[in-house]
Every structure is written in structure tokens, then in C-alpha cells.
Symmetry: C2
Subunit: 220 residues, 2 copies
Amino acid sequence: MRHFDELLNDLRNRLVAMSGLVQAAIRESVRALAEGEDSDLKTVRDREAEINRMELEIDGITTELLALEQPVASDLRFITAAGKINNILERIGDLAVNVAERSESLFRHHAKIRTDVPILAELAESMVKRALDAFINKDANEARAVLLSDDAIDELRDSVFNELIGRMKKNAQSVQPCVDLMFAARNLERMADHATNIAEAVVFMVEGVDVRHHHVQVAN
Amino acid sequence: MRHFDELLNDLRNRLVAMSGLVQAAIRESVRALAEGEDSDLKTVRDREAEINRMELEIDGITTELLALEQPVASDLRFITAAGKINNILERIGDLAVNVAERSESLFRHHAKIRTDVPILAELAESMVKRALDAFINKDANEARAVLLSDDAIDELRDSVFNELIGRMKKNAQSVQPCVDLMFAARNLERMADHATNIAEAVVFMVEGVDVRHHHVQVAN
């Protein structure tokens, strides 16, 4: 069992490290938007490559843990939750690259449009962090709180979208930068959706209760 | 072992049924765009609810199979691939609802803009079908062919985007419908990405080779 426990611990530590990289990538993906600085696209791409490597390693560990011996129910739930969270973190890394590409396009075109996209990024980053804390602490209450905070993101996304559509109608010159900002906003909102998926996996792991699909998803 | 084999078979059959529902949902999600008919939004939403139920049931079966007894290596790879594919099919169902919402918005606003979005839908549906056939037939070659067909989708998406951006610049009235079409196109392209994720899981299941992250993703 020693080897099994060590592997479990290793799995937990690696997910914490991966989550830190993902949070940094989210932050960096909007820096060019938020602060008018040069793009962090290369940094975000490097982080994503690192995240991808970690995903493969963690998948290897979960497979090994499942194959090694029959895990008891609670360990099995931890391992399957960790496997899901691992894949979700990787997808958030991909989204961060997409956001960074849009940020760079905006920076390159000297388009300065003030929006709440950086606030969306902060909210998304915080949801990912809280969802992973809930996983590490096996805290179903915190996970449920993450599920509730998704509404704030959706409202902010709607208001950003409406503002951008208004701008595009008024000014043909702003179409391309506004499209960039819409996709950035959309990708940040999807990160928040992924954070709720992590939170759902945590509730299931802790309580054995499946809370997926209990609210109709209308995001787009 | 009888019970174990029955469960494995049940798992396979359910995934085939779920894949059929997902393909139908993709087709229906663009009908309002493609044929100028009234929206199938309600049909697609009903299908998604059914897909969500199937996802939970299939997750229950994979968990039971993992807990029941130590599966041998090839069964373990089949079960973990099935679990991944199950979650991916559910996400494709969500995307079909998003596309159907955009289609309905276009229909409601009597916006008739001819684009290649319906062709994107056909390509996405065919990729999902081929990826699942590859899973059922344990056919790594077919799975690799699915991975290659993703480029055609990306090219078509780029040409649709460029056309829509041009229209928006020329005509402020077309901004809202063009945004609807952009998000429809984007969601269809993401379905195709998910089909490649299914194909990657199939290659891993059959050959034990992880082909993820061997090409840089630039989709947005």
C-alpha cells in the first residue's frame, strides 16, 4: 500500500502544480488587453505546452493507480475525479492560448477598447482556483459555492457582448477588434464553465451525489 | 465474469445509441439555417436532455466496471476510453443546443444569409460518426483518418469567418445575424475538435500510444 499512497499523494501534488500554471496562463492571457503591454502570447503558449505534458503524466498516474490494485470506493472516486479535473485543466490551458491570441491581435492593431474582459478573466481565474481548493480540501460546500458563482460570469458576458455589438453597428472600423474581444470573452466564460465542471466532480467525489445537469445551460 | 462481459456489452451499446442522438442533434441544430424552416430548438433541447441522462447512466456503468473487479489491461483501456468518449459526446450535445439557439435567433429575425455553416455541420456530424465507428471497431487507422480531416474544418471555418467579418463591415444591419453565424460556426468547429479527441482516445485504446498534443492547436 505504501506505493499506492505515494502515487495518490504525487497525483494530488501534480494537480496543484498544474492548477497554478493554469491560473497564471489565464492572468497572462489578458495582460495585453488589460495593461496595454506587449503580448504574453509566447509565455502562455509555453505554459500550455507544460500543461499538456503534465496532463499526459497525470493520466499515466491515474491509469497506473487503477491498474495497480483494486482501489477502495473513496480512493476510486478520488482517482476518477482527479482524472476528470486533469483533462479539464488541460482544456482551460488551450482556452488561455486562444484568449492570448485575441489579445495579441488587438495589441498588434493598436485597438484600444475598454471593456470588462479583464474582469471576466479575474473571475474565471478565481473560480478555477476555488474549484481546485475544494478538490484538495474535499470541501463540497466550497464546490457548491463555485457552482453558484457562474451566474455572475454569464451576466458580465452578456453585458460585454451587448456593448461590443453596439460598437460594431456604429463603427465598421471596430468590427475586427470587437470580434476579437467577443471571442476572448467567450473563451473566458468557457473557462468558468470548466471550473463548474471541476466543482461538480468534487461534489460527486465527496458526497457521491451527481449534481450535473440540474440546471439548464444556456451559455453560448 | 459473465456479469462483467454483459456490462461491457451494455456500455458499448449505450455509447452507440448516444452517438446516434448526438449526430441527429447536430443535423437538427442547423436545419433552420439550412432550409429556412422553423427552428428545431425544442427537438435539440429534448435530445440534449436525453443525452445528459445517458451520460450519467454510462458514467455509472464505467464506475461499476472499475469497482467490480480488476479489469485486465485491454478491458481497462476500453473502459477508460468509453468514459472519456461519454463525457465528450455530452459536450457535443451542449454545443448542438448552442448552435440551435443561434439558428433560431436567425430565423426569428428573418435573416437570410447564405453561408457554408450547414456544410460545417455535415463535416462535424460525419467526423463524430467516424470517430465512434473507429471506437466500436477498435480501428486505429480510421481514428487517425479522423485526426487528419480536422484541417478541412479549420479552413472552412476561416473562410466563413472572413466572409462574415466583411459583411459586418459593409452593413451595420447584418452585425447581429453575422455574430449568430460566427458563434454557430465556432461551435460546429468545436464539435469537430471533440471528434478528434474521441479519435485520440481510440488510438490510445487500441495501440497504447498517446497521440495528443502532437500538433499545435490554433483553433479559437
